[in-house]
Subunit: 223 residues, 2 copies
C-alpha cells in the first residue's frame, strides 16, 4: 500500500495558473507518464545560473533516480541537496487550428520539484543503475558484465522523492470550432517515435545472440 | 555577414568538464541542431526554485524566440530579464555496450544561457510568432486567420540572444571494443520520429484543402 496520498498536493509552485484544466495531480497518472518516458530534463541552479540538462532516469516506488559522473557539474551541484526541477515531456502531436493563436501541441508532461538525496549505499546504487538500464532496454542489466567497484564509485546516483509534482496534459482536436469556416485544414498531426533496425557494434563476441527487438514490444522510445 | 564570431566562446559555464570531446562550439553546428528541433526545455529560477518547462521555439538569426501567455508564470518571471537556460535535445539512439557503465545514448543537444529580452513591438512579435509556427509546420502562417490585436497583446514573446551557447554531441558505436568477448549483443538502436496520418478536426470548412503532408518532406518531428 502506498503510504503517500494518491493525490499529489497542489502547491503554490505546482498549481497551474494558466489552463488549470490541463493539470493532473493524480499520483498514478503522474507515474504512468514517468514510466513511459526515459529521458528527462533536469534543472538546477549553480552560482545563480540555471542549467537544464537531458539525462536518463527511472522511477522506483515514490522516487526518481538519475545518475551521472561523480565528477560532473551536475553531481557536484546536486550532491549539495539543492532545489531542482525534473521535467519529462511526451510529445504526442501537433494541433493545427484556424489561427496561430489556437495552435497547440498534444503532450503529457510531468514536473517534479524538490531536493535530491545522494545515494551512497552500494546496493541501492546498483539497484538504481539496474532500474535505469532496464527502464530503457528491458531485461538488459542481467546480461551485462557486472559493474566494478571502481565504476560504482565514479558514478553518482541521486534520488528525488516524488512529493511535490504534477502533470500537464493536452489531448484532442483544436478548440476553435467557432472558426471552422476559415478555409484551412485543421486537426491533429500525431507524432510517433519508434526504434529502427539495430546497428551491431564493429566488434562482437561470436556467441553473442542477435538483438531481440521483441523486448520493446508495446513500448515506444518516448524521450 | 554574421557579425558574431563563428566560434562560440567557451566560458566557465559552457565548458564541458566531462567528456570535453563531445563539446561543439561551432555556431553553424549549434544552429543546425536548433533548426532541426522545435521543442525546447526552458529553465529559470523563481523565488529560489528552478523550473523547467517544455515550449516551442524558433531561431531567427542569432536569437531564439519563445512565446507564452502574457499571464503565465514563465512570462512574468522571464520578463524580468532573469538568467535562463534553454536546452534542446535530439535523441538519436540507444548505445548498448557490454557493461552498464558504458551504456550511453546518441544525441545532439544545445544549451543557450543568458537573459531574454521581452519583445514589445507588434511587428517583431508577429514575425517571431510566424517563425515559430512555420518552424513546426512549414508554410502554415500565411494560410491562417490573421492574429487579432487582442491575441497579440495577450501573447508574450521573448528573444534570447545566442551569445553563450554550446552543443554536446555523441554518435557512433559503444566504446568498449576491449570487452567485445562478453557474450551480449552490443551496438546502437536508432530512434526515429515520424508523423502519423493527420486526424481532421470534427468541424471543417467545406472548401478547406486536405492536409498536405509533403510540407514535412525531409523533416522529422524532432522535439
Amino acid at each position: 500500500m502506498n503510504p503517500l496520498p494518491s493525490t499529489l498536493p497542489v502547491t503554490g509552485r505546482t498549481r497551474l495558473r494558466r489552463k488549470p484544466a490541463r493539470g493532473v495531480f493524480d499520483r498514478d497518472a503522474v507515474y504512468r507518464i514517468l514510466d513511459e518516458a526515459f529521458l528527462c530534463h533536469l534543472a538546477f541552479v549553480d552560482d545563480g545560473q540555471p542549467y537544464c540538462i537531458p539525462t536518463a532516469y527511472a522511477r522506483i516506488g515514490d522516487e526518481v533516480y538519475v545518475h551521472g559522473s561523480a565528477a560532473s557539474r551536475t553531481a557536484r551541484a546536486l550532491g549539495g541537496a539543492i532545489e531542482l526541477c525534473l521535467t519529462v515531456t511526451l510529445l504526442d502531436g501537433l494541433v493545427l487550428a484556424r489561427s496561430g493563436f489556437n495552435h497547440s501541441m498534444n503532450y503529457r508532461s510531468v514536473m517534479v520539484l524538490g531536493r535530491a538525496r545522494e545515494v551512497t549505499v552500494g546496493a541501492e546504487k546498483l539497484r538504481a543503475l539496474a532500474a535505469i538500464t532496464d527502464h530503457i532496454v528491458p531485461g538488459r542489466w542481467d546480461e551485462l558484465r557486472p559493474t566494478s567497484e571502481q565504476e560504482l564509485k565514479s558514478t553518482a546516483v541521486l534520488a528525488l522523492p516524488i512529493v511535490e509534482a504534477s502533470a500537464k496534459v493536452r489531448s484532442g482536436p483544436p478548440l476553435d470550432a467557432d472558426e471552422a469556416s476559415w478555409p484551412v485544414w485543421a486537426g491533429v498531426v500525431p507524432i510517433v517515435t519508434s526504434y529502427a533496425t539495430p546497428v551491431p557494434a564493429p566488434e562482437m563476441a561470436a556467441d553473442a545472440p542477435p538483438f531481440d527487438t521483441t523486448i520493446f514490444a508495446g513500448r515506444r522510445p518516448r524521450a
